[in-house]
């Protein structure tokens, strides 16, 4: 009696989701990444409460002061506190990453599902579109798009979102192609369920795991792209701080050499956040895919 009860409890405990969670929490680098990312996100979300100064108020008497007790990371050319701007910039950079990836994963789910499920001509057209966009160097077109639309946070999100969908579309399509041959999908179809319901309830859930992994690495990539755009002056326009645009002044050798506190902290912030997200992505891949050898 007790044995049977224990056995049942044991069975209930070991669901695939639990096993995945256990594999994830055992991934040391992923847990480290999660910890660092949570701190960065908390700082960004709580920015108005945490930041010691105003991110945009100019104080010309504080022109490029090196780090000191009152300004931990010094002040910039307009006398603004670098630490405060760093925290506020986190809001911009992290949200651009999230929204841009949200845009292209949504496109990918729609196109991938349609291509994978309907096949034939629709599939051919969508997959050739995927080939076309994948062949065009992303960064150059993003720069072109942003220069047409004008530099702004929303246009950066849009431009990165428009160019990112081909790879996850392929992923979704491939996954659906293999899933729709599964017996339980055939069963659903023979029960007479409508197509959209089969796609939504029976096929898409199987696509989620690889897509989550892809999206995690995608956020890291999008943060890097946004930082690059803002560094070149095409992303988030000042005075709104973003990690990339805080560093653009270091393109002059004078600032690069004499005012390192302007460009080193945002550089480290970008690297830390991207590294943390990549670690989390690595952990998720190991956790969600038991065969888990694939790299991307």
């Amino acid at each position: 009696m007790t044995n049977a009860l224990q056995a049942e409890q044991k069975l209930r405990v070991d669901t695939p989701a639990r096993r995945a969670l256990r594999r994830f929490t055992r991934h040391r680098l992923a847990m480290l990444g999660l910890g660092v990312l949570l701190i960065l996100v908390a700082l960004a979300v709580l920015a108005p409460a945490v930041a010691p100064h105003s991110p945009t108020k100019q104080e010309l008497s504080l022109y490029r002061k090196p780090p000191n007790q009152d300004h931990w990371l010094g002040t910039d050319t307009f006398g603004r506190d670098v630490f405060t701007r760093l925290i506020y910039a986190g809001r911009v950079s992290l949200s651009v990453g999230l929204v841009a990836v949200g845009i292209y994963e949504t496109i990918a789910i729609l196109l991938g599902a349609v291509a994978g499920y309907y096949g034939s001509k629709v599939d051919w057209v969508i997959m050739r579109a995927v080939d076309v966009v994948m062949t065009i160097p992303t960064m150059i077109v993003i720069i072109f798009l942003v220069s047409i639309l004008g530099p702004s946070m929303y246009n950066s999100m849009l431009a990165i979102g428009i160019m990112g969908w081909p790879e996850p579309t392929r992923l979704v399509r491939g996954q659906i192609l293999s899933l729709r041959e599964m017996d339980y999908v055939t069963a659903a179809r023979s029960l007479g369920l409508p197509t959209y319901r089969i796609i939504l309830r029976h096929v898409l859930p199987g696509v989620v795991a690889p897509l989550v992994v892809h999206a995690t690495f995608g956020v890291a990539g999008a943060i890097l792209l946004e930082a690059g755009l803002s560094f070149l002056g095409l992303g988030v326009p000042p005075p709104t701080p973003s990690w990339g645009n805080m560093m653009s002044s270091a393109q002059t050798l004078n600032i690069l050499e004499r005012v390192p506190w302007l460009w080193v902290p945002p550089g480290i912030a970008i690297m830390l956040s991207v590294l943390s997200i990549n670690f989390i992505g690595d952990g998720l891949r190991d956790a969600l895919d038991p065969r888990g050898m694939e790299t991307g």
Binding site: L29, R128, A129, D131, V132, V133, T135, I136, P137, T138, M139, I140, V141, I143, F144, L145, S147, I148, A220, L224, A227, G228, F231, L232, L234, G244, M247, A250, Q251, L253, L256, E257, P260, W263, V264, G267, I270, M271, V274, L275, N278, F279, D282, M293, E294, T295
Partner: protein, 320 residues
Amino acid sequence: MTKYIIQRVLVSIPIFFGITVIVYALYALAPGDPLAMLLGERAMLEMTAEEIEAARESLGLNDPWHERYFDWFSRAIRGDLGYPLTGGYTVMELLQQRIGPTLLLMATAFVVSLLVGVPMGIVMALKQYSWIDYLVTVLAFAQLSIPSFFLALGAMYVFSLKLDVFPTSGLQTIGAPFSLWDRIHHLIMPSFILAAYFAGVWARYTRSSMLETMHLEFVTTARAKGLRERVVVVRHALRNALLPMITVASLSLGHLLGGSIIIETIFQWPGLGMLGWQATLNREYPILMGIILIASTTVLASNLLADILYAVVDPRIRYN
């Protein structure tokens, strides 16, 4: 084999048309009057409304969009990519001047990334789950996560401003005659920084590909034959593990080009990336179109080449 090649070439044709349509669509989206782009703002101010209308008509700007597209396409395919607003060169001539430095930078970065990344991957795979594996994994992830411009600024700070061992910018010392050593000296920093990201990519791919291959039966057979471990790893496992990377290599081409925009801008390297950046600032859309068209066509051609090459070295592909 011939059938496979013909099939791959046929698939590339609609993709090429797709690229030209997108490039043209970007141009059509760009703000500004195409007539002003062709004639110059000042020339237009001196014209009457009728003259402007006549100019539009004769240049075909009033034609429906598909006619304008075919007109542009037929000129582009013959190498006529139009004129930029300033300077006496055609877009094609500008591209020809700038493509050399970019190819040099990309090729060097590509070789460096392989030489750094592949050994990293091999070490990780052979010492799986050891502290070396962890250390190199973290290093590879750091290479994937550091923004290239941050790395560039840091390297400039240390190696140019503090240690003064490498120049901060340019293709060669200004005013000095061309010398090979001078060129290499200028090439080292930008190419290594451009290579850093891809070394990380190669390291990750090599690791997982090696791990997969090491478990295959022919590797066990090689061991069972009593071959030395080094021979097993290098001749049997590594050679097969590197096969799928032909595809990865051709995919990395587009990313290298994208990365060269930032690197060339920082290091004032006069290649296509810096040209594209200047064209963006000056809103010289014909130049940007030319760069995108050339870059995409190159990527398309290299993908085709990679497909064929892959089929040559791996017979399983062409019988599928």
